[in-house]
């Protein structure tokens, strides 16, 4: 069965394009949540294998969402990929990846190949 990925980002167009790419190139089953305040509820019902989270969103930012996820016993082990425009790709030295626990931080704009690679790494064999 395909791995399930949840995309949480307020940019509808962006998530739509990312979803299509992840489905096509990664073979994942992808769900979109554009409202960060609904992220926890959606995650609980969708039970994703990985969550891709935008750090800066109106209402609730990625950090808040991540904190909520960590507190949920059913989701705290799910790997999270945070996308942030706040760090420069240059700062994260050449396409590098910052990692802390189950969370991986990727710079925005996201490099699709890099995201696919990271997802492959953090996800269990599909």
């Amino acid at each position: 069965m395909a791995n399930k990925v949840l995309l949480v980002d307020d940019e509808a167009g962006f998530t739509q394009l990312l979803k299509m790419n992840l489905e096509k190139s990664g073979g994942y089953e992808v769900m979109i949540e554009n409202d960060s305040t609904q992220a926890l509820a959606t995650a609980l019902s969708f039970q994703p294998d990985a969550i891709v989270l935008d750090v800066v969103m109106p209402g609730m930012d990625g950090g808040d969402v991540q904190a909520q996820l960590q507190q949920s016993p059913r989701l705290s082990k799910v790997p999270v990929v945070m996308l942030t425009a706040l760090v420069d790709s240059a700062e994260l030295s050449e396409g590098a990846v910052a990692q802390a626990g189950t969370t991986t931080v990727l710079p925005k704009p996201v490099d699709l190949n890099l995201l696919l690679r990271v997802l492959e790494e953090v996800l269990p064999e599909g």
């Binding site: 962006f14 394009l17 790419n21 969103m57 109106p58 209402g59």
Partner: protein, 415 residues
């Protein structure tokens, strides 16, 4: 010395020059009082018995003669508001003269009697005043130019601070375009229904990036103040495009509440965006320690009478009762304003921000720009004490049009 007759001594003590010429005897001078000696630097003994051609330049003499003839012809008094004579000791002397025809009863000769007042000093001070005035107008113009430069300098500074955020805003559509390219470059199945969606998204992304960049370019351009009727929604939309990153970065929630059918406001888009950006950024800064930042932008239209009533007999110098105005409030739930700072908010360089975080020019420039639009800007704490409210009151009528801008600017500088 000959004993003077009463008439002669009266004439010599008059503060005005008095002279007479005998038209029947080749316009020779027959009267020349003391004051006339003083003004012309010519003694009576030299003048009497001679005519204008003996005493003055030919050009002047021609002129005097033509006036004398006109007086005789008309047979009545003639006023010469200003005439100039060349004198030996005082150079050009300006005179105000009346000339009148008089018949000498004894001899039957026609006389032309002249009475002249020396107005040289008056003329000179008038000239000086005109000169000063010209300088003043020039200085005012320079001040107005300087003010425009100050406004532009402040704008460049906020552009500098916005640029990073705007760059981020452009990154998003660019990322979408990239995702589209990624998808399309990995081979396309002819039946793939996604392709159309992707192309639409890519087109929209290009348009969005273009709009953001163009917004910044338009905003940065320096043009002379030019006002046009503008829909307020449009200004707000443009402003939010430029400050969007500041708002999302700080997870500020923005609520826009603009009354339907708000009348157009008459303003310079780019300058007014500058005002709005300053106010929004100020609000964002004030909400730095607020867990849930809420920014409310509210626009409505009222008659000025109601505004005054609602604001408790406050005076507006720029508006008349009954004027229709647009009131634009920018309300935050930030720190509010310290009591002691209230009177200094609009002072240039007043800032409570750390060095490097604020120059303190924002509000002073914003106020200047709003004044140039014939409007009013205030900033005060919310009545419920939960933050601050910036209020713009803007005229909607076109009759405060372009012509009045410069005088208004000059008046601003005077005070």
């Amino acid at each position: 010395m000959q004993k003077q007759s009463l008439v002669e001594s009266v004439l010599d003590n008059l503060p005005v020059a008095v002279f007479a010429k005998d038209a029947t005897d080749d316009f020779k001078f027959v009267l020349w009082n003391k004051k006339q000696e003083e003004i012309t630097s010519l003694r009576a003994v030299k003048a009497l018995g001679n005519d204008d051609y003996d005493l003055f330049s030919e050009e002047s003499a021609n002129y005097f003669r033509s006036v004398d003839k006109a007086v005789l012809k008309r047979g009545k008094l003639l006023k010469v508001p200003e005439e100039i004579i060349d004198t030996k000791h005082r150079g050009e002397v300006h005179l105000r003269t009346v000339k009148l025809p008089v018949k000498d009863e004894k001899t039957g000769h026609d006389l032309v009697v002249g009475i002249s007042e020396d107005i040289t000093e008056q003329v000179q001070s008038l000239r000086q005043l005109e000169h000063l005035n010209k300088n003043l107008v020039k200085t005012n113009k320079e001040l107005a130019d300087t003010q425009m430069q100050l406004i532009q300098a402040e704008k460049l500074e906020s552009i500098g601070r916005l640029a990073a955020g705007v760059a981020h805003e452009v990154k998003n559509p660019l990322a979408m375009i990239l995702l589209g390219v990624d998808y399309l470059s990995r081979g396309i199945d002819p039946d793939d229904g996604n392709v159309e969606t992707i192309l639409t998204q890519m087109r929209e992304a290009v348009e969005r990036a273009d709009r953001i960049v163009r917004g910044l370019v338009d905003f940065s351009s320096q043009r002379a103040l030019s006002r046009e009727p503008v829909k307020l929604d449009l200004v707000i939309e443009e402003v939010l495009l430029l400050v969007r990153h500041e708002l999302t970065r700080t997870t500020t929630n923005v609520v826009i509440d603009i009354e339907d059918n708000l009348p157009h406001v008459f303003l310079d888009m780019s300058k007014f965006e500058q005002v709005m950006i300053n106010l929004v950024i100020n609000a964002v800064h004030a909400m730095h320690d607020t867990p849930r930042g809420e920014l409310l932008i509210r626009g409505r239209s009222e008659r000025i009478k109601d505004v005054i009533k609602n604001q408790g007999a406050r005076k507006f110098e720029v508006f008349r009762e009954g004027d229709r105005v647009v009131i634009l409030d920018i309300i935050d739930n930030g720190s509010g304003i310290e009591k002691g700072d209230v009177s200094r908010l609009f002072d240039p360089f007043f800032t409570t921000k750390a060095t490097g975080h604020g120059t303190g020019l924002g509000l002073s420039v914003a106020k200047k720009i709003v004044a140039l639009h014939g409007g009013n800007l205030t900033l005060e704490n919310r009545e419920d004490g939960k933050g601050a409210r910036a209020r713009l009151i803007l005229p909607t009528e076109i009759d405060t049009g372009k012509v009045s801008l410069v005088p208004k600017l000059l008046k601003e500088i005077d005070t």
